[in-house]
């Protein structure tokens, strides 16, 4: 077979495969990620309000930090107990986008590679899943900062 025939065949096969391959239902995924993501945020707000009631003297910033820390701790606890991935399988982006997703990605990697030791396992592989998030976070926030600097003349 020459190259053209192979390409033709591959194209035909690719078209056939995409026609028979089952796909996820768009609306169902959207709904699941909406309510799981939304619920996470509501719980976060609830925690924030509770802390505000308990410690009225603290500033908004500190309360926000405490809320994030609580959510992260809970997410890591859920990961360790082995049911975060069960929630995430349903929640998709709804469980990936909030801060809990980041905590899950880091803690799951650290658990997974613990067997290779603290240095060569956990330390080396800790960012293996969240690496792209960190890199893109830094790159795009730098870009955003530069744009802001150019437009408004201050950071």
């Amino acid at each position: 077979m020459n190259n053209n025939a192979v390409e033709e065949r591959n194209k035909r096969y690719g078209k056939y495969v995409s026609a028979v391959t089952p796909t996820t239902s768009f609306w169902k995924s959207l709904w699941n990620s909406f309510w799981i993501g939304g619920l996470t945020c509501c719980i976060g707000q609830g925690i924030f309000d509770l802390f505000k009631l308990a410690f009225p003297s603290l500033s908004q910033d500190i309360l926000g930090n405490i809320t994030s820390m609580t959510l992260i701790t809970v997410a890591i606890l859920f990961t360790g107990l082995g049911f975060y991935d069960v929630i995430a399988r349903r929640g998709g982006a709804g469980s990936f986008l909030p801060i809990t997703g980041f905590a899950n990605a880091m803690s799951s990697a650290s658990m997974e590679f613990k067997t290779e030791g603290l240095i060569f396992g956990t330390s080396v592989k800790l960012f293996s899943v969240v690496g792209p998030v960190v890199v893109n976070g830094i790159v795009w926030s730098t870009v955003a900062g530069l744009i802001h600097l150019i437009l408004f003349g201050r950071v």
Binding site: E7, R9, N10, K11, R12, Y13, G14, K15, Y16, V17, S18, A19, V20, T21, P22, T23, T24, T79, G80, G82, Y84, D85, I87, A88, R89, G91, G92, S95, F96, G101, N104, A105, S107, S108, A109, M111, E112, F113, T115, S128, V129
Partner: protein
């Protein structure tokens, strides 16, 4: 003969179907080896994890291990134990001792064949390590049979293993990482299967082997293994049919390795386009190892999938006389985690052996 095509017919791929009787003339044999002194399968053992044990074939497995870590510190160690237990069990099943084994042929999915090599370290047997992804079991049976047929050895052990947790770590993400799998993904089987081939004996014979070619139809989705591997299975199956002058009805069972639900449907379509109809006598190990309620998407995959099913359910039924002649084609996807990110497509292979009573 009424044929129900699934929805693939609508996309133009199987439009030009002309079901003609296959050519009844044996081609010159290029891929098929017929064994003049067919080796016997005299011992076998399958070891699987808990999830597989709860599946439809659960009661047929020789050993179901409840603990995914086998009481060890790592999953890799559990995989080694699993393979070791399968090999030792099959040797005992054949009424032999470890010293009688003249050659050990094993394979697994991990880099550098770690599990196989570490098992071989603890057994004093000459050893060949094979990597052919999920088709390792049929490749090892083909090679072992060729050695026995040629008279070099009398007793050979062929075994493969795979473990969900170790494969997941190597090919995908950490276990507890919350990610969604697409509905066409497959689930790596935690399991091991081992077969003892001997020159003499009473078990089923391996009468022929088909050595597959690497086939690539340009699929590059790491999750869609079934679609990638189906063309390889088709290629080997066609070589078998054409070169031995047979057709699907000449086999009591055509058993593919781990195409899964989607892949086996695709294979049916592909074979239909070539003029062969795969009917009730075609099944896929990946498709039958899990129940639909176990949420394993398209079914099982991995080197241990077809190895554990063949060495339990299939050979068991064969010994009871339900099947007389089966064609066993395991299929393997020969990609690495890097190659797909580098834009390469997935090359696949399928080796087959013919087992007769």
């Amino acid at each position: 003969m009424s044929i129900t095509l699934h929805k693939g017919e609508n996309c133009g791929f199987t439009e030009k179907v002309i079901i003609s009787p296959p050519h009844k003339q044996a081609q010159k044999r290029q891929q098929v080896i017929l064994f003049e002194n067919p080796p016997r399968i005299s011992g076998r053992m399958s070891v699987v994890g808990e999830k597989e044990g709860k599946g439809p074939a659960g009661t047929y497995f020789d050993k179901v291990v409840k603990d995914a870590k086998w009481g060890e510190k790592t999953f890799e160690r559990a995989e080694i134990n699993m393979l070791m237990s399968a090999i030792k069990g099959s040797v005992t099943d054949a009424d032999l001792s470890e010293n009688d084994v003249q050659l050990l042929i094993t394979g697994d999915l991990l880099n550098q064949l770690t599990s196989s090599n570490y098992v071989a370290r603890e057994l004093s047997m000459p050893y060949l390590g094979l990597y052919s992804a999920c088709s390792t079991m049929s490749e090892s049976l083909a090679i072992g049979s060729a050695f026995i047929n040629a008279g070099y050895f009398d007793t050979i052990v062929c075994a493969t293993v795979s473990h969900f947790a170790t494969a997941e770590r190597q090919f995908r993400y950490p276990l507890e990482y919350g990610c969604q799998r697409p509905p066409y993904a497959q689930w790596t089987v935690t399991g091991a299967g081992s077969t003892v081939l001997t020159k003499e004996g009473k078990g089923p014979r391996i009468t022929a082997a088909v050595l597959g070619k690497v086939v690539d139809f340009g699929t590059n989705d790491l999750n869609n293994m079934g679609a990638a591997m189906a063309p390889a299975a088709m290629d080997t199956l066609l070589a078998l049919f054409k070169e031995t002058d047979t057709d699907a009805d000449d086999y009591d069972l055509i058993l593919t390795g781990d195409l899964g639900k989607l892949g086996s449907d695709i294979l049916r379509d592909l074979m239909l386009e070539q003029g062969y109809y795969l009917g009730q006598n075609y099944i896929d190990c990946g498709n039958i190892i899990y129940d639909v309620t176990q949420k394993c998407y398209q079914g099982g995959s991995g080197a241990g999938c077809s190895a554990s099913i063949l060495n339990s359910l299939i050979l068991d039924k064969m010994e009871r006389g339900q099947y007389n002649k089966i064609a066993y084609l395991a299929t393997g996807a020969l990609m690495s985690t890097q190659s797909c990110y580098q834009g390469e497509t997935i090359p696949c292979i399928s080796h087959a052996v013919i087992i007769e009573r």
